[in-house]
Symmetry: C2
Subunit: 140 residues, 2 copies
DNA sequence: AAGTAATAAGATTGTATTTATCCTATATAA
DNA sequence: TTATATAGGATAAATACAATCTTATTACTT
């Protein structure tokens, strides 16, 4: 329903991975330290990203995480949708929500417009855009 | 953090009141029936709207609720902010949120831009706009 | 003055969601 | 075969959301 912390973590994770986009696997622990995120929760987040095909993972020694696609092709909206599923800023915008006022409801219509405006904004920026302007230097 | 059902209820309530904007007090029960909302919860919502000055209430017989301002001057954003307080579509946008990446954080920046786009959309429409196009006829 | 009708306000409850953490399993390289 | 890293399930703690209950307060009506 909303943009959770996990979405933010996912963005930061992918942002971090974008800095290394030359095929090498980065350990989740390193990302967690770098971006100050709880490791275990980050691992859960990575699992989701892996299932949706945004990252590739490798277990065992020399294992870790890497982008599965070019950072130019992933928008922030892509990341958010990967984590949250279909967005609905208000319950009445959810697919399975039954409302007596449908389908001709001005409230619904306006909320939907607001949501679209938000998602459009998130769809403007790719990971590549972000990493280009990011102030956080690569430390490790 | 998000646009709750209570926000939607508030919008619907004010929308309903806008249909009668000639100074008469409408009972919350009538609004609840008209818009299919839980009465007690609606009363809570009205209390908030009253505190923020959007509606006036009167107790006792012949009492009820009415708009405190003209429907042309209330935007949907006004209503949402009245109910939710300062909006933050992501925890990192909250005022009291401490983040190591501040103040130079691209993620924060983009989320903020998305939020602004959303609020701008909600700020475009007033209650008067809504009631003009509303399909729900006044029944009582 | 008493009774009735309406909202105000505080307390409480139930549920769902969010944000983790723990533990065991599985894969992989050295 | 051992050390290392993610996978996945279970669970827990915290928070938020939605709703209800109860008692007060206000105000008209008779």
């Amino acid at each position: 329903m909303q943009l959770t912390r996990q979405s933010e973590y996912a963005i930061r994770t992918l942002l971090e991975l974008s800095k290394y986009s030359d095929g090498e696997f980065i350990q989740s622990r390193a990302i967690a330290i770098q971006q100050d995120l709880p490791v275990q929760f980050l691992n859960k987040t990575v699992q989701i990203l892996a299932r949706t095909g945004l990252v590739e993972t490798r277990r065992g020694m020399q294992g870790g995480i890497r982008l599965a696609v070019k950072p130019e092709t992933i928008t922030i909206a892509d990341v958010v949708v990967a984590i949250e599923g279909k967005i609905a800023i208000n319950p009445c915008l959810a697919d399975d929500y039954h409302c007596v006022n449908r389908p001709n409801c001005r409230v619904h219509e306006i909320l939907e417009r607001a949501q679209s405006a938000m998602l459009a904004e998130l769809d403007k920026e790719t990971l590549a855009d972000l990493v280009r302007d990011d102030n956080n230097e690569r430390v490790i």
